[in-house]
Amino acid sequence: MVCLSLRSALASAFGIANRSSTLGVAPQLQHIIQSTRHHRPQDAAAATFSTSSSTFAKKKALIRYHLYHPTTLTPRPLRFSRNRALRHWTIHRAWNLYRMKVKRRRELELERQYNAMAAANEELRVGAGDGGKLFRKAQMKIGTWSIPERGGGVPIEYARGQVEWVGTVAGGVGGPAKIWDHEWKRA
């Protein structure tokens, strides 16, 4: 075999171990070669898992580029590969679907509560046997808000929406905030 002998001659001349296997290579390198050859599926799956730091950093960089570019009026285009765009779309659709379902569930619950309330009122009006007196009494709003002399009820301050800040206009421009007009009397 001319070819083999030539190869062995060259190998001896350059001082390389004449073997077809990778035994002569440094142990670290060997490890890499083996891992690439016997490509175990578990390894493969783990290698592409999204928590690997480098891909995660890349993703973050792209999204940051899209969101926080100095020219805020024209945000940078978010360019994805086909598969990634499809994955993005899938997640987007699932999220929208989830939100729609939550919304629908809430609406149905509200509707159910409203209907139950209406049915109870109707029962009180018709079925109590007192000609609807109890129903009329129940509908009266007297005593909801507390009047200091009578006591009880919810403080009338809560009749208005509670906010963190109140405009100072009522107390005059530059004056202190006038949250409640204590001097007011019915004319």
């Binding site: 783990a46 994955r87 699932a94």
Partner: protein
């Protein structure tokens, strides 16, 4: 494992590999277990990469040259080919991205719900069909039919909802591999068409006044594409008379499941009438009882059956000096798919003075699609007119010079 990897990766890997042996009992990793099974096959398949390079994956210049010499040049960019060659070959559905897999789980669950609803709706329809209409409601049979119709519409809607969130469906549609026999692909195609092509079409037929001049109104629901042999014609293009001498091929894409019987009319409303100093409309082609459905959109006007053709193809012509002629193609749906009787229809048709509106009302037709192309005098027109036996090729039309009133003349005798 390469030594540069973080220890957390190793931990993750060991966790995942222990998960494999727990089998299908673990619900959180159901997707990744199947993923591994698939990967094994793929990894076994891609062995001799250098022996037989593929045009999709070869990225080494030497292999590229070899492929090009073999007559199968590499596909796509080198970067893309390299990415494909070095990817793991994991199926899209099984890509191990956590959020993606969670999203898929939500979508699959929703699809199951939708399938359940479809089954319920089918059962309801069957039950309603068997029931007696008069006993059901005081509306009687009419009420029952109306209710059935709305339930069927709802069923179609549910079928679309079941599939519309599937990324694979989206991908297949974008690749043009959608099966038009399925409701979801018909829906997607319709949406895409309405998004742009239909708008352009409506603009053309209204700007060039096909709509009031030929038909009173038209809400296009089928896509019409015109082709003369290999020449594609956009709506409103000028077509050379030599090209339009032979009948055209139409691509009539319907987006509905049921086949339709249609009537095709090609009408030229711009034939100058010298006696009345106005324009006549001439019918260049008329065919009835043509069946179209979503799956077979191609329609060659030359290959229609003899009994379908009411007026055979007359080559579009325009005399020299006349304004351009609009050859408007209108598709009519025949009511309830009742076929038009050829003998009866021919009795009332005048080809040189074709009244589209009366034809429509006589046969109860509704316009469902329209398009047009234009023609004007060109070098081949004389020969075309001679071959078609239309005279007037040697005649040039000119506008009558309108003499201005004496006080509006530019150079009256009083000026001199």
């Amino acid at each position: 494992m390469a030594p540069s990897r973080a220890p957390s990766v190793q931990l993750l890997r060991s966790l995942r590999s222990s998960d494999v042996y727990s089998g299908a009992s673990s619900t959180t990793r159901a997707f990744s277990t199947s993923c591994r099974q698939h990967e094994e096959e793929v990894v076994v398949q891609r062995e001799s990469f250098y022996r037989n390079p593929k045009p999709e994956t070869a990225f080494v210049p030497r292999l590229e040259r070899r492929l090009a010499a073999a007559g199968t040049p590499p596909i796509g960019s080198r970067r893309r080919r390299m990415a494909i060659a070095q990817s793991q070959g994991v199926l899209f559905d099984q890509l191990p991205f956590q959020c993606f897999q969670e999203a898929r789980k939500v979508l699959i669950e929703d699809r199951q719900e939708k399938l359940q609803q479809i089954q319920t709706m089918r059962d309801r329809i069957a039950r309603l069909q068997q029931s007696d209409g008069n006993a059901l409601h005081r509306g009687g049979e009419q009420y029952k039919q109306k209710r059935l119709e709305s339930m069927r519409t709802e069923l179609e809607h549910l079928k679309i909802l079941a599939d519309v969130n599937d990324p694979n469906v989206k991908r297949r549609f974008e690749d043009g591999k959608g099966d038009m026999s399925k409701p979801i692909y018909r829906f997607l195609a319709d949406r895409k068409w309405r998004d742009y092509v239909q708008k352009i079409l409506i603009q053309r037929i209204t700007q060039m006044k096909v709509v009031p001049d030929v038909v009173p109104h038209c809400d296009p629901i089928v896509d019409v594409k015109i082709k003369f042999g290999r020449t594609n014609v956009q709506a409103g293009d000028f077509v050379d008379s030599a090209i339009s001498e032979k009948p055209c091929q139409l691509t009539v894409q319907s987006f509905e499941k049921d086949p339709k019987l249609i009537t095709i009319a090609i009408v030229d409303p711009d034939v100058p009438n010298l006696e009345t100093d106005s324009f006549n409309s001439r019918c260049h082609f008329l065919a009835s009882n043509v069946q179209i459905d979503a799956l077979t959109p191609h329609l060659d006007l030359a290959k229609l059956a003899e009994e379908q053709i009411l007026v055979p193809w007359l080559p579009p012509t325009a005399q020299k000096g006349s304004p351009y002629h609009r050859l408007s193609i209108v598709l009519f749906q025949q009511k309830d798919n009742i076929s038009v009787d050829k003998a009866v229809a021919l009795r009332n048709i005048q080809q040189t003075d074709f009244r589209t509106r009366s034809f429509m009302t006589r046969h109860m037709l509704t316009p469902i699609g329209a398009s047009l192309f234009r023609t004007k005098w060109d070098d081949n027109m004389g020969a075309v007119m001679q071959r078609a036996g239309i005279d007037g090729a040697e005649l040039e039309l000119k506008r009558v010079k309108v003499q201005p009133l004496p006080y509006k003349r530019r150079n009256p005798s009083t000026f001199r």
